[in-house]
Amino acid sequence: MLIDTVFFYLFALLTLGGAIFTITRRNAVHSAISLIVSLLGVAGLYLLQHAEFLFAVQIVLYVGGIMVLFLFVIMLVNLDQAAKERQFNRQWTVALAAVAAVAAEIGYFFYRGQDAFHFAESTAAPAASPGNTEVLAEALFREYLLPFEIASVLLLVAVVGSVVMAKKRI
């Protein structure tokens, strides 16, 4: 549908534009804001894919949590001096060349495998199907319970670790 296309390209633009700005800004705060924009674009893309829960999680967690954390740390670290430094390191040419090579490679994979990406497109969700969140919950707490618990342990470890890392005196 046309509206999907438009929205897709809009969100794609947001995402990629935000990404590009993220990596090119001198001021770290600018980069953070650009990253937020990019993440919002990604959230929109999730929504287009009928992944509502992820859209919400993305906004809440990523943008509301991580980026806020980033901003706090940027403030904490005082990047004024860093802003005056040279921004790009010396290996940027080589890195660019390598990335270009990888891009070419990925393009080649797409070219060769494009026949495998023909899926049956169904745009309309069936009427009495459960919502995205219910389905997700079902799967998460039934099949993927163990990874869920492990993830919680991981978060615990991360919390402890980051507290320890950030303390002045442990």
């Binding site: 990629l16 590009i20 999730y46 992944a51 992820l54 980033f70 799967a139 991360a158 890392m165």
Partner: protein, 102 residues
């Protein structure tokens, strides 16, 4: 216009990945590097969700949830390290942290 296929999402994800990679390899500021890593993770998430949508399987989204969880943990710890690093070396530039060299 042609309809948006999964392919488009994959291409987008690839582009985002590459941009993130350029950021990781090229920027000197560690904060920017960490942000670029978030970009890469998001690219992966887009890929997963696209395939989840294509195969009508919710496992992709669950995987995406876990990726986000992981990204959170990693960002937290990474920033903690950055703070510790800044406290000790008074710099946030990756180039200047090269003590473990020959």
């Amino acid at each position: 216009m042609h309809p948006i296929t999964t392919m488009h999402y994959l291409a987008l994800s690839a582009a985002l990945l590459l941009i993130g990679t350029i950021g990781v390899l090229t920027r000197r500021n560690i904060v920017i590097i960490l942000m670029s890593i978030e970009l890469i993770l998001n690219a992966v998430n887009i890929n997963l969700v696209a395939f989840s949508h294509a195969f009508k399987d919710v496992s992709g989204q669950i995987f995406a949830i876990f990726v986000i969880t992981d990204a959170v943990a990693e960002a937290a710890v990474g920033l903690g390290i950055l703070i510790a690093l800044f406290r000790n070396k008074e710099t946030v530039l990756a180039d200047e942290i090269d003590l473990l060299k020959w």
